[in-house]
Symmetry: C2
């Protein structure tokens, strides 16, 4: 137990300093590391394995909704980035510029892609000729670069890994449908796989993506009550299509502009998992996405038969389709318990000489430390059940946290008071005006998160200016 | 048939102009496209799907041999690249330099990674403390950038996609074993999955990787007799370890330098597939790696019951675990035949009204156009058999091509004569001297491909200088 304490004691308590707790976890659970490239991180094997599980699940969902993967170039010529005015204004200040190839100065600067709308537009303008070629539903998995001033692992870094979907459609209606379809894919993924409840909604004009007509978002609440934008889906109208001359011949052989969407989710989701489910002992990973779902730890492994039985159980559990691991290292059981708690492995199976005599072992849940004594022959039914329960319990707990930290306000004064006393979501009505949005930011320190798709009527007037309200909106302090 | 001819007639015959044939195929089979970023390509959905099949198979083989994936930053600071002298000399002339982040000039230039040895070294120096931490067996999938002057899709481009494995070990023996293990993984993959026979061998000092002690390679022969280096595995000794201060405490608590390897294979393999198996009608894809293994094409689809039966067959074939597709578009059967031949789909299933009456359909092999009439109830046994036969036939054909274009020479005169008359592999003995290697390049126009692991004794002297021979070596004209 001394060892166990040691490992854990190196973590700052989340109640004391949540930000410090977060970086401690990232380091201690061996998720990410820094390199000498300022603001860029290394995804260590454990984070990469988690990301690969996220990728394979999302990728399957994308393919089931008819999307194909492609790979676009890593660079964008300056002139191409500049074709859409709003887009370049949004991104140019934060791109990395390549000016030389070997010893030769380039005729035109290239930026390392911050996002790839412009490349997709150029390609679609070339390959789409007629209505028969539509829709084109492309996605790519890659990393992108944005020259951020302040960075935090997974939440904001100069390079991050993501997928970006880019689609073109014959009609506005189809493009709008796609925008909502992918928002729903993200929401389903977050809730069912990551056990993170999300608010679906539309961003204000101030917060929407550079060049988009409308940006939709899923907003999650972290354990500390702060908001994390966890995925976005944009409807572009035909703005880029006009800038990039993306036309197709319709059924009457008339040239029409395409209607476009894009949508993205990133390694930020790893940050969301950490900050939604983690506790003072380390990570807590949702079983559906955990690289290791169960770890077998022999107790008193030197006693005859213990290692053999543990290995036998491990093999049979793997055969059940559970992502299992066994730790036969020379570390003490206490050390191992702490290590896999730090790594957030959902279930721990302990088996020692006494257990073997009784034909049983102990399963310990990571989230609530609940111990279940299980007969060997019942493992096949108990393990899947416990994994399922744990997955649900994480979701329920996160939802409860969000509900407990969601407030309603009817005046700016009330908003300021709530913001001063709590961190969470604050629901209000809103006139839709930028001035009121900026005033809330300035006086209550909260940014608009989204206008939820599930609108509620909290009153008739904007709490800031008193004019008639147009939307219900949610405010928060965002990562 | 007129349509079919039209599609095919747009392809240059491979016997007329192999290079032109290649670029025609890349374009017509919708594998790659150009963007406005000079020297970079777009992987279109079909090439990306092929690459994903290559990735998932190799990734499984890497994981089975104990490797873990990570993700390193996209950038390398200039000072880090310069730490190993040979390495920087090899790569600095061909990297892309980032000099500005947004509007701000960087204090130190960053290059976009051309390969990531330096980043892995820095990380290993940090995370490996003792012999208990070794070996570290990491791999990453990413794209890299090398500022090439002349480019060709898949074969040589400024950006390409690859995996790079980087491992560190306690001893030279273990690192050497790893180097050979991964060379064998590549060879097995190429031969069993891509149906491409490869020569395994060691590169000469002139041709080895910048900073490596030894570079091993798999060399494939394309249909035109030219060589394509298709994967490399490097043994680094402790050269980088000394430059990057990568030490670990051994069991006696003495500091020791780590021993290192790296190994890579890239989207170049797509070029290898095209140029090994393709023909004048288009791509020919090995079944094990083809995105679509079988396409169902209804004939006289307007006749009652045809589309239904075709769809029913398609569904049952998918259930067999075959990657199948059905084409119910309004294009004519002839057009469809030509289209899927262009795409290299291994098997085509044709089914029309007469077939249905007889309870049968026709399977057509892509490689030799052999038609087999198959009763519906026999599809489950015939399809896997045909796919297997086709896979083997492609390998056999490629091996035969290599054997027919492999020559032996005993003098420089003979080498020059063979090179003037044929394109292929030329086997000779070699003294091991750089001067002789350069002379062969200059006078016979061939570069050294490798010193095969399977050495043969062709004589006692070097055919160039007449001094005692040290190795049997293979020469060729390389892509």
């Amino acid at each position: 137990m001394a060892e166990q304490k040691k490992l854990v004691s190196e973590i700052t308590s989340m109640d004391e300093d949540f930000a410090k707790w977060y970086t401690d976890i990232v380091k201690k659970a061996e998720m990410a590391d820094y390199s000498s490239v300022k603001g860029c991180i290394i995804l260590r094997p454990y984070a990469q394995a988690l990301w690969e599980n996220i990728q394979s699940t999302l990728d399957r969902m994308f393919k089931e909704t008819g999307h194909e993967n492609v790979a676009m170039p890593i660079f964008i010529p300056e002139s191409l980035l500049q074709k859409e005015k709003d887009h370049v204004e949004g991104f140019a200040p934060e791109v990395a510029w390549v000016t030389h190839g070997g010893s030769e100065k380039l005729e035109e600067r290239l930026c390392v892609r911050p996002t790839s709308e412009t490349l997709f537009c150029e390609h679609y303008a070339k390959v789409v000729r007629s209505w028969r070629d539509l829709p084109k539903l492309y996605n790519q998995w890659c990393s992108v670069v944005r020259w951020e001033k302040t960075t935090r692992p997974f939440l904001r870094s100069r390079e991050f890994w993501w997928q970006e979907g880019h689609t073109v459609h014959a009609t506005e209606a189809e493009a709008r449908e796609e925008t909502m379809r992918m928002l729903n894919v993200y929401a389903t993924f977050c809730e069912e796989y990551l056990a993170i409840p999300v608010l679906k909604g539309r961003k204000t004009d101030k917060e929407r993506f550079a060049g988009a007509v409308e940006t939709y978002t899923i907003e999650a609440m972290m354990h500390d009550g702060k908001a994390l934008q966890s995925g976005t889906s944009h409807y572009f109208g035909d703005g880029f299509a006009r800038a990039f001359d993306m036309q197709y011949a319709d059924k009457n052989n008339q040239l029409q502009y395409m209607h476009q969407t894009s949508w993205g989710a990133s390694t930020r989701l790893i940050g969301a998992i950490i900050m939604t489910h983690g506790d003072n002992e380390g990570l807590v990973l949702p079983p559906k996405i955990a690289p290791t779902q169960l770890v077998v730890i022999p107790v008193a492994a030197h006693k005859p038969g213990v290692t053999d039985k543990a290995s036998e159980l491990y093999e049979s559990i793997k055969k059940m389709g559970v992502r299992a691991k066994i730790d036969l290292s020379e570390n003490s059981p206490g050390w191992k318990f702490a290590e896999y708690e730090m790594k957030g492995v959902p279930l721990r199976l302990e088996v020692g000489p006494r257990d073997i005599e009784n034909g049983q072992c102990v399963l310990v849940r990571r989230d609530n430390r609940e111990k279940t004594v299980v007969k060997f022959e019942e493992l096949e039914t108990v393990i899947p059940k416990l994994l399922e329960d744990l997955q649900q319990a994480l979701f329920d707990k996160a939802l409860k946290n969000r509900e407990e930290h969601t407030y309603t306000a009817h005046s700016l004064e009330e908003m300021k008071q709530v913001a001063a006393e709590h961190t969470g979501f604050v629901k209000t009505m809103w006139c839709g005006g930028l001035a009121c949005e900026e005033k809330v930011k300035e006086e209550a320190g909260m940014s608009s998160r989204c206008m939820p798709l599930a609108q509620e009527n909290l009153g008739d007037t904007c709490p800031v200016c008193g004019k008639p309200a147009k939307h219900m909106i949610v405010w928060g302090v965002a990562y």
